[in-house]
């Protein structure tokens, strides 16, 4: 069984079988409060899947992009859950889960032929008047979304112009489907591939500037 954890937008946890059958998916859409809900969500996801921690073979971690503070909670949780069981962590870019969901949905509704060649961008709120976006087109032979460009930040006002120029459809996402994140992980495991870096996808440096000389206080 594969446990998927993502806190890049809200908090979401899911359990899927190695072949991709979804056993459970629970979430909190609260864009804050990740630390509050993460433990309960893991317990609920396991319970609804009728499994115990001992049944989990891999933990899939959503690596972002996403607002830093929340994003870290899920990655930390994925790492320590795996540590407690002595099992591997499989990092997955959070936007991959949204891309896979869209492509699978199109396949189920018979529209896949129309979108298989479509270039589209998964777009999420990155706060500070920016979006995070990743450009995709179709699925590869392993059933994983093909990333045409890696996740990047863009000022909100610039996004549409850039996408229109390049003929890319815009697909906004408000939530990350943890089950599809886990399915991406499951497919990567089956294919023996590493599909994301093990480091959090912050996309931003901590905004701090080294101090100049101390301010004068006057006399």
């Amino acid at each position: 069984m594969i446990l998927g954890i993502d806190t890049s937008l809200g908090s979401a946890v899911a359990v899927v079988e190695p072949d991709g059958v979804i056993r459970s998916q629970v979430e909190s859409v609260d864009p804050r409060g990740h630390a509050e809900v993460i433990g309960t969500l893991i317990v609920r996801a396991l319970a609804e899947a009728s499994i115990t921690p001992a049944d989990v073979s891999h933990v899939v971690a959503g690596m972002g992009p996403g607002p830093f503070t929340g994003l870290r909670v899920g990655i930390a949780a994925a790492r320590t859950f795996a540590l407690g069981r002595g099992i591997p962590v499989v990092p997955v870019a959070s936007h991959d889960a949204v891309a896979l969901e869209m492509l699978l949905h199109s396949a189920l509704t018979g529209g896949y032929e129309d979108v298989a060649d479509e270039r589209f961008a998964v777009v999420t709120d990155a706060r500070r008047r920016e979006f995070a976006y990743t450009v995709y087109r179709g699925l590869d032979d392993d059933g994983l979304p093909i990333r045409l460009a890696e996740p990047a930040l863009i000022p909100r006002d610039d996004l549409d112009a850039v996408l229109t120029r390049d003929g890319i459809a815009r697909r906004d996402a408000e939530r990350i489907p943890a089950a599809l994140l886990a399915v991406c992980g499951a497919r990567a495991i089956t294919a023996g591939r590493t599909i994301a870096s093990a480091d959090a996808l912050y996309l931003r440096s901590p905004d701090v500037t080294p101090p100049s000389t101390p301010k004068r206080v006057g006399t």
């Binding site: 630390a35 509050e36 503070t69 790492r79 320590t80 859950f81 080294p210 101090p211 206080v217």
Partner: protein, 362 residues
């Protein structure tokens, strides 16, 4: 769960130290600390986002190191403990998320505890000291906090007598070190240059120590006025040099450092001993990273002895922020029969000291 000598793994991420501690009952098995201090040096103080990122990277290796050092397997652990607050919110959240998932994964109870009370619990792990006696006054001084507590019982009765109204004492050391052109962290640097200085050379102010402060702020601290006074003194000296280029008005760094340090130490010790006297408690416990300051330890011991107050100072490795103190506090809670925390708690950056354990199960 073994309640007579529980094996507890503690996780502490409230500031810039990623601390993993393992204790068995009151025995310290590992006190593993990964610090991001070097990454903050160029900013002259702890940068919360830098600290939080460092926690995420350091946690897993630190847990491995602590297990290796203690020769313990995760499956042997009786409980997981974590700091819920107070501290930097984003930094605390990393530890809270990690601790919850670890506890669920292991199927073990989780104890969410108070960082400041953890500093007191650190004393219990000092195998060379006689058992901690109650009540005791505790003075906790670090870069993040300056608090004076009355501890009647570690697991059930801790009262905040006073705290800093502005900067923590450790922050004041950092800021004054910068004024004097000394690197971060400022405490050891000030201590080093002050060694050859005259602590009475300059009469810097003692914050919240006037008779009029005694009603409302008897046990509170303030260090921002002191920092401003040092800055002003340094500026006036430079201005003087400009006016009189032929006279040597260069900064007597050693005297400024020694006089500043004396002002900080004097206020800390005076107020701590006043609390001992007012509450008729002949015991004072010191904790927090600033306890590394030699002068603070010496003055506390000397003036404590004169006042008939026994001063306890745990080893420095237990005074700075660490996971062992968090594990030790949880161990005490377990041994006193307290139920575990539920999973429904978060990081509380301003957690009051009266909340020794957070989200206790019904």
């Amino acid at each position: 769960m073994n309640r007579s000598e529980p094996l507890v793994l503690g996780i502490e991420t409230s500031c810039d130290e990623t601390g993993i501690g393992i204790v068995r009952g009151r025995t310290l098995l590992s006190n593993t600390i990964a610090s991001s201090m070097d990454e903050h040096a160029r900013y002259g103080g702890v940068v919360p986002e830098v600290a939080a990122r460092a926690h995420l990277e350091a946690l897993e290796p630190a847990i491995h190191a602590a297990l290796a050092e203690s020769g313990v397997a995760l499956s042997d652990i009786d409980a997981v403990a974590v700091t819920s607050g107070p501290g930097l919110a984003g930094a605390l959240m990393v530890g809270v998320g990690a601790a919850k998932a670890l506890a669920v994964s292991l199927g073990k109870p989780l104890y969410a505890v108070n960082h400041l009370v953890g500093h007191i619990a650190a004393d219990i792990l000092d195998s060379n000291a006689p058992p901690l006696e109650y009540p005791t006054v505790a003075l906790l001084v670090s870069g993040g906090h300056t608090s004076l507590l009355l501890v009647r019982d570690l697991t059930s009765d801790v009262e905040l007598l006073g705290e800093t109204m502005d900067d923590a004492a450790g922050e004041a050391f950092d800021k004054v070190a910068r004024l004097l052109g000394l690197p971060y962290p400022g405490g050891p640097q000030i201590d080093r240059v002050a060694a050859s200085g005259d602590p009475d050379a300059i009469a810097f102010p003692r914050g919240l120590s006037r008779a009029s402060d005694m009603a409302g702020h008897r046990y509170d601290f303030s260090f921002s006025g002191l920092k401003t006074a040092v800055a002003r003194w340094v500026e006036q000296r430079a201005a003087r040099q400009e006016q009189e280029p032929d006279v040597d008005w260069s900064l007597p760094v050693a005297d400024v450092a020694a006089s500043f340090r004396e002002a900080v130490v004097d206020v800390l010790v005076t107020k701590a001993l006043a609390a001992c006297r007012d509450y008729d408690v002949p015991r004072l416990l010191l904790g927090g990273g600033v306890i590394a300051n030699r002068r603070l330890r010496d003055v506390a011991l000397e003036r404590g002895a004169a006042a008939g107050v026994t001063v306890r100072i745990p080893p420095l490795s237990l005074c700075t922020d660490n996971g062992a103190m968090i594990a030790a506090l949880a161990s005490e809670l377990i041994m006193s029969g307290r139920p575990a925390s539920t999973l429904e708690f978060g990081a509380d950056s301003t957690l009051p000291v009266t909340e020794i354990q957070v989200a206790e199960s019904a």
